[in-house]
């Protein structure tokens, strides 16, 4: 099964997005 390499930091996601040009996909969940 494939797994998604989720980041756990919004700022890190924005930084990686700026570096790669890829948009962020934020999954904002009620439980972990």
């Amino acid at each position: 099964m494939s797994s998604i390499p989720w980041l756990d930091s919004w700022d890190a996601a924005l930084g990686t997005s700026a570096e790669t040009g890829k948009p962020v996909f934020l999954f904002l969940n009620a439980v972990g």
Partner: protein
């Protein structure tokens, strides 16, 4: 279960920077993106501006379509019109895709922004009139197709 799906995982990994956070620990993000239910799904640019927001669990095909719609809006905003137009075209090629008429609407807008010619929206907007004639999107573009 959507997220263990291999196609979804491959799509997200290839095209996005994925981030998973708890709403209770990031109320500022819920507020910023107007998320009133969980899970909240946001496609955003590196400046934090949302391209697309959704809530709730979706089956794989629906989720991939929603993600591609967000990618298309993101690409259009970045003036990457070739990528945006290709995604909008693909999303509106299948009449069964619920986001289809909205994608065709924005495809027209994207082409107008690219060419600075309002007539370039007409082919995508005719698709709306043909495939989703009873939709709100068809009524939005009716003035241009007269």
């Amino acid at each position: 279960m959507t997220y263990p799906d291999d196609r979804v995982a491959a799509h997200v990994t290839e095209h996005f920077v994925p981030a998973k956070l708890l709403g209770a620990e990031h109320r500022e993000l819920s507020k910023a993106f107007n998320i009133r239910w969980f899970p909240g799904l946001v496609v955003a640019g590196s400046d934090g501006r949302a391209a697309h927001v959704q809530v709730g669990y979706l089956p794989p095909d629906d989720l991939i379509a929603e993600l591609d719609y967000g990618r298309a809006i993101h690409a259009m905003t970045a003036k990457n019109y070739a990528a945006a137009n290709a995604l909008f075209d693909a999303l509106s090629a299948d009449a069964a895709t619920e986001r289809g008429p909205e994608a065709a609407y924005w495809w027209g807008v994207s082409r107008m922004r690219e060419t600075k010619d309002s007539k370039s929206a007409l082919d995508p907007w005719r698709r709306i009139a043909q495939r989703w004639p009873k939709s709100q999107w068809a009524r939005k573009v009716a003035y241009a197709l007269k």
